[in-house]
């Protein structure tokens, strides 16, 4: 068996395929090799990929991946099948985002990708390169909570707390987009996350209160989706 970690980088070149194209192709999804999505100029490389895949049952080897997390560059070597959530949690030890359903249902893994909230369990790390990844870890400054986090605490919007970081990030993205939401907008806008302990009443209040607080103080802090807002 090959050692995944110590595999020399040179042996890829023998097959005439760049690592980046290879991984991107696989990164699109497992159906890609057989479905003919890779057409045109990529075709010769794709067949090389097919051959390589026959030999390497264990899957493609780790590749260098650069992620920009909360404004910091992180260089990793990851298999292309590693999700953004797994990269954050298992490689960067940033465990605020949680793995709960692993299927884009619950929102516990929510992070902000170039200003958009995403379920990081359903985004590949390799596809997140070159994007601004913002996680819950960026919100508080030391012991000083982001106003939204303070509103969560004040309204007891957490019990076991496992869904909480995902909710906080989703709420942050929501408020960045709708700084003055109505009750109804907030009710619907926070529907992408689930909580088993039943903290919705507190979350709803917290988000509305945090919005009011923002209107009152208008200092521009915590708004606009900057990486450390």
């Amino acid at each position: 068996m090959r050692d995944q970690k110590n595999k020399p980088t040179s042996d890829k070149r023998k097959r005439g395929i760049s690592r980046r194209k290879f991984l991107k192709g696989v990164g699109l999804g497992s159906g890609v090799l057989s479905s003919g999505i890779l057409g045109g100029p990529l075709l010769p490389e794709a067949s090389a990929v097919a051959q390589a895949a026959e030999v390497e049952v264990a899957g493609p080897t780790p590749a260098p991946i650069e992620l920009t997390v909360n404004g910091q560059r992180k260089n990793l070597r990851l298999e292309p099948r590693v999700t953004l959530l797994e990269a954050l949690r298992d490689w960067l030890d940033m465990t605020g985002a949680k793995k709960v359903c692993d299927r884009a249902t619950c929102g516990a893994c929510t992070v902000i990708l170039d200003g958009q909230p995403v379920y990081s369990c359903s985004v590949l790390a390799i596809e997140s390169q070159g994007k601004n990844i913002q996680t819950v870890e960026s919100l508080a400054q030391g012991d000083s909570l982001h106003p939204l986090q303070a509103a969560f605490v004040e309204n007891d919007a957490q019990q076991c707390g496992f869904c909480t970081p995902g909710f906080v990030v989703a709420a942050k993205a929501f408020l960045d987009k709708y700084p003055n939401p109505t009750r109804e907008q907030a009710r619907l806008g926070l529907g992408g996350n689930l909580c088993r302990c039943g903290t919705y009443a507190g979350i709803w209040k917290a988000v509305l209160e945090a919005a009011t607080g923002r209107r009152d103080s208008q200092r521009g802090i915590g708004q606009g989706g900057g990486s450390n807002a």
Binding site: M1, D3, A58, A140, V153, F162, V168, G191, L194
Partner: protein, 714 residues
Amino acid sequence: MPEYRWPEIGTTSLIGKRINRVDGPEKVTGRAKYTYDLKRPGMLYGKMLRCPHAHARILSIDTSEAEKLSGVAAVHIVQEPGTEIQWAGDDVVAVAAVTEQITEDAIRRIKVEYEKLPHLVREEDLAKAGDRVKPFTEQVTGDPDQAFQAADTVVVEGEYGLPVVTHCCLEVHGQVAEWEGDRVTIYPSIQGVERVAGQYAQALGVPASNVRTLMQYVGGGFGSKVAADRWGTACAQLAKKAGKPVRLMLERKEDQEVAGNRPSDFARIKLAATRDGTITAWQSESWGTGGPGGGGSPPIPYIWQIPNQRKIHSAIATNCGPARAWRAPNHPQACYLTMCPIDDLAAKLNMDPLDLVVKNVSLLGPRAELYRQELAKAAELMEWKKNWHPRGDRSPGPMKRGMGLSLHTWGGGGHSSECQVSIHPDGSVEVSLCTQDIGTGTRTVLTIVTAETLGLPVEAIRLNIGDNRLPPSGNSGGSTTVGGVSSSTRRAALNALEQLFLTVAPSLGVSPEQLEAVGGQIRVKGDPTKSLSWKQATAKLGVASIKEMGKQPGPQPNPGELTSSGVGGVQMADVSVDVETGVVKVNKIVAVQDCGLIIDMKTAESQVYGALIMGICYSLMEERVMDQLTGRMLNANMEFYKLAGLADIGELVVHMWTDPEQQRRGVIGLGEPPVISPGAVIANAVASAIGVRVPYLPLTPPRVLAALEKGGMV
């Protein structure tokens, strides 16, 4: 010896107030580290190969291909060839490798041969259960036959039921195991950090003193996380073989299939009253499953002491993942199976169900008077009398509105608990006990109790929990934690304070009994000018800290003690049903709940809000769907195993019952009771809205439409 009582009502500065959850900041920042978040040096990732068949015998296991895979560090056979597997998803082989991805690859390379055996996974039709039915003995009280036939008697008959639901904790079950020689440290995701250590010791065959269990945060349990579990021991075995720490967390699918569920209950029920509405007789034939073991018997009729009864329950053994305690075990089922027929009886008698319940309140036992008062309060908050209408909303248009009510009870007396409170010469205070905060606010409660007792702010208290080397405190189950740990902590804090008084009394020229601790000072009662600041007082300890224990033996029967047992509550729901689509929408739920002395009003209310929301989930959405053909759970995920979202909850009104008499009963648990009634209140509200009973939970659109089509019993 100090007198172990709670402070007089009205004299507290923290107890009973609205205090923020002390671990809130850790949770909202994502800093709280759950078991799933732990990464020990060199840690490997474990996974389990599980049996795909509901009932099968293992014939052979070949792990050689998995073992050859680069990155795989250990393979451990959990159940050997020859074993009969009783449910799909049961543990067979555990693997640990350097990444989760390689572990998955290794699992795929393991070859297991099975001999398939006949299975049963569906239980809602008793007639099809064959020899899987285990009947309990029939119980008869009074003379039900005579009572049902008596002149002027009104009888309702119906079938009602609740399916199996899962716990669906957001943090799946699992643990990290790490060895150092023959000592093992387990980081479990558990509701009993202390008790689980003994289970590991036994299963691993090591002395109990060699097992350390550590946990600071757990992502939900609801009754399903009290055992080491086979996957827990397997994780420790992998770690031992690999010589490295291993984290093995279940997949969501596995968690849904094997890590616990609430037993189903179905029943054919007959209920009688005289024409004036005096309830006289009950008859029930009930059945349900909790997996291979059969399942418990719901205590029906629930709370109501109906004079004439005949009842028989059967447990059905199915090839499904075994049941575990689910928030108030057996009570939500019993409550639903009782309060729905009572509501149907009211409809048949043309009575407002509130009037029927109040008329029969004496059948509610020793708590009858409190229920009557709570019903009145809930009715006021719901504007019941103004809004109630006879069954079937006659207003035009497809949206029909209705209300339902229910009541419930629970024990909740504090478990035995030991606590140590230390006061250090520098003024710092430590509280140490092996309990856990499963999201219920235990940390906050303990901090408040200590701070109140010592006259300090909550920030002054440092709390150590979640380590089995600390003084023992039981599992967080049965809503027994808050009563137990708040009482042992109160005792320990009072004992420690007594020692501090003994030390400082001479310098204030008084006897220790004349001192009190208030507002960060030790002062002479009635003479606030004679005082020492807390720091001045503790400085007098020199170099020796005070370390005092407090032991709570369990619940205490007399009023005025630290914890007793027995709570209750009343709930009412207001729903709208779209009779064209069958969609049920909760407009409002009112919950009136008593639970003795409340330590923190904010987190106490959160328990009730949370229970109502969990109640909405199981009333409208949750249902484990089993496929008889394959023997598998069809919705072992979170897309098709539905939970309510923020948009589904409506207005929730929580009223905690805090009259002085209740508060004198001491601290009593609250986590479970408010989750009991929602099924009944929502179902009754739906019946009130659409004029027919939808007999089975969850009240999904197809069920609502089917009931409308069939017409109703009323």
